[in-house]
């Protein structure tokens, strides 16, 4: 077996031919790829902002409806009770007058506030005549579904009184 002596000049030549060691080159390129990839992800995923912000005001819509129902029912009660002729047994007449007034809030078959439909034909249990006053109990369900992730379901109960 013949052993060939490799001199310094030949070693340098071999190193030159082999170039930089592969592990170091890989490390540099992988560092570059990692940094580049991360920047690309930053750019693609957070280039623009898109968000909806909700605060407690989303309940306002329900309170606004509540206010409107109060106003409309009071208006209907004023008109329905002033037209009562039988002061001794006013409940049936009140219910009839109330239905007439309620229809006035319809336009093309739809109420100006859709929840008013729940007041159609009030039961005689909800209307009482006590001490010269008509007492009208309402129970309306107010819903709000249009708000993202939130659904509001509110049962509004109120007692309205009107002297006749």
């Amino acid at each position: 077996m013949k052993i060939k002596y490799i001199g310094d000049t030949e070693k340098r030549e071999m190193n030159r031919r082999a170039g930089t060691p592969i592990d170091i080159t890989l490390l540099v390129f992988m560092a570059l790829a990692l940094a580049g990839g991360t920047l690309l992800i930053f750019y693609l995923h957070s280039g623009y902002v898109s968000s909806k912000i909700l605060d407690s005001r989303f309940l306002d819509e329900i309170y606004l409806k509540e206010g409107k129902i109060d106003f409309y029912v009071k208006e209907m009660m004023i008109k329905a009770s002033t037209q009562i002729s039988d002061k001794n047994n006013p409940v049936p007449e009140f219910i009839s007058n109330f239905n007439v007034e309620l229809v006035k809030y319809k336009t093309n078959g739809t109420y100006v506030l859709t929840e008013l439909s729940q007041l159609e034909n009030p039961s005689s249990n909800n209307v009482q005549f006590v001490d010269g006053k008509i007492i009208f109990f309402i129970n309306i369900n107010l819903k709000q579904d249009s708000i993202e992730k939130f659904s509001v379901n509110y049962n509004y109960n109120k007692k309205f009184e009107r002297e006749i």
Partner: protein, 217 residues
Amino acid sequence: MINRRSQIGSTLTWFTATVIIFFIMVLFLTVSILDSGRKKVTSGWDDVKLEEFSGNLESQRVLFNLLESSFEIENVSMKMKDWLTFDLYNMEASKKSLIRENIKLKIFELINANGDKDCYTFQAISGIEKDPKEILKTTDSRGSGYVSDFIEKSSIEMSSYYNPAVDLRGVRYANAAHEKLLNRATSIFLIRNTNVNVFGVKEDYQKVLIKFYIGEC
């Protein structure tokens, strides 16, 4: 000696690699900082919405009080809600103007009580069932002039931004500001005691649409 020489060569390669990686990291940091600094809400792709809610609770409360308040015209005292259920379309201009001035006076009392800081808008339109904007949207262009005229004759309107003396340059700004207030306004319907419209045709009971806003300008 040979081994030491090879160590020097290897160290030199590592040194170069470290310098390169250091610069990559500096570049990464610089770009990251610049990129994060760029994230501000602008027009275009950026879309941060604060949910809008129709109506305004404070305005609604004030409106109910206003509608229940009374004023006198030609020795007749009535609540505002009753004055507004008159036939505004066929009303004499002088009477309509008096109603308008009385409403304005009531609103000004409220604004003065709050230190003159608030803006307001008030619109009462008789004989319509929908928002005037929706009506005009669905109206044929040939009829839009007539509809606008009908709405104008059937309404009482006032606003912080309404000023007949404003010159043409200010009209666009005033209209935009007025629209902004109208969009925030609360609305309610009053029922007129008639189901006969201006054409003499019986339809649903006539309504008066009231839109009102008082608050921040």
